[in-house]
């Protein structure tokens, strides 16, 4: 199917609202992270939103790392 329209795709095919609740921004050690909840009720880092380049050098802040949701600050 080809849609010849200038409407953006996200206006025509709206995403299910449950998709939006999967990810959220939380603070961990004072650093903002975009996280996803895992099956084990932990947070898994999707993106490190810090502007401090030193925060990217630590393994525990790398994408894919997990931490318990109680560590959220």
């Amino acid at each position: 199917m080809i849609l010849y329209t200038m409407m953006p795709e996200h206006l025509i095919f709206q995403t299910d609202s449950s998709e939006y609740t999967k990810q959220k921004v939380i603070y961990y050690d004072g650093i903002p992270f975009l996280v996803e909840e895992t099956e084990t009720k932990e947070w898994q880092i999707v993106r490190n939103l810090s502007t401090n380049p030193a925060d990217f050098l630590q393994q525990k802040y790398a994408p894919g790392e997990r931490f318990p949701s109680s560590f959220e600050t």
Binding site: M7, Y20, K22, K41, T51, P53, A54, Q59, S70
Partner: protein, 245 residues
């Protein structure tokens, strides 16, 4: 409760085995084993503008997006923190919302600390004003910037808008870019309205050295040049401060 359980689990397991598991997990998830461990306070912060610049409509999570509600408080924090002396803005964006892009660009332009931008990969569309908003801009040799007229659904606050409205909006972008870079309005508009470069659209895809030639970007270079320039600017600002006293 959850925390207690977690700690108990950690104390039970053999640290070595856990480390190996950790490494295996990293290889599985990231294709890499380790990054250097160090914590260091740094006087230069780095702001990354990646993916789409998200506007008033939240994009689905599979999109990589830069959200202005994240970026603007970070810029404010950078302005306020006395330990931060300079800001490096790294761009690899396809563009996005005009108003959100201009908001970020205006925030960066009004920052009192030295700022240097570097375009890696792409700084397209509304990424152009963000790239030029910094005090000094770099582009890598292979990076490109697409300059094209603003394209909208025509819906503004849910209502289709007139051509004049969109023309005014475009004028804001053109004015911002010409004010913050060495490119002339004539040249910028010529690039914006040229035909035959993009499929079914008007505009130009400007590659690194050409962007410098047109005066849009200050210099071709990578991270080393950008950091060197930023340090020079910080030193210049410091010596300026001492001279005034």
């Amino acid at each position: 409760m959850e925390k207690e359980r977690y700690i108990a689990f950690e104390s039970e397991s053999d640290p070595n085995r856990e480390k190996n598991e950790q490494v295996a997990e990293n290889i599985q998830q990231l294709g890499q084993t380790n990054v250097p461990q160090m914590t260091q306070d740094t006087n230069i912060h780095c702001l990354t503008i990646v993916g789409q610049i998200e506007g008033h409509i939240q994009l689905p999570p599979q999109n990589k997006a830069t959200k202005y509600e994240h970026v603007i408080p970070q810029i404010v924090a950078i302005e306020q923190n006395p330990n931060i002396e300079g800001l490096l803005v790294v761009l690899n964006t396809v563009g996005g919302d005009v108003e959100a892009g201009l908001a970020i660009a205006e925030m960066l332009a009004s920052l009192s600390k030295p700022t240097v931008s570097i375009v890696l990969g792409g700084g397209h569309s509304i990424g152009v004003p963000i790239a030029v908003s910094c005090h000094y801009s770099f582009i890598t040799e292979t990076a490109t910037m697409t300059i094209h007229p603003i394209r909208l659904t025509g819906l503004v606050i849910g209502v289709p808008q007139t051509f004049e409205y969109l023309d005014k909006m475009q004028e804001r972008v053109v004015r911002f870019v010409t004010k913050h870079s060495k490119i002339t309005e004539e040249k910028f508009k010529e690039l914006m309205f040229s035909k035959g470069n993009l499929t079914r659209d008007i505009g130009t895809n400007v590659v690194g050295p050409d962007a410098v030639q047109y005066g849009l970007i200050d210099e071709v270079g990578g991270v080393a040049q950008a950091m060197k320039k930023l340090r020079e600017m910080i030193d210049a600002k410091k010596s300026e401060g001492t001279m005034l006293q």
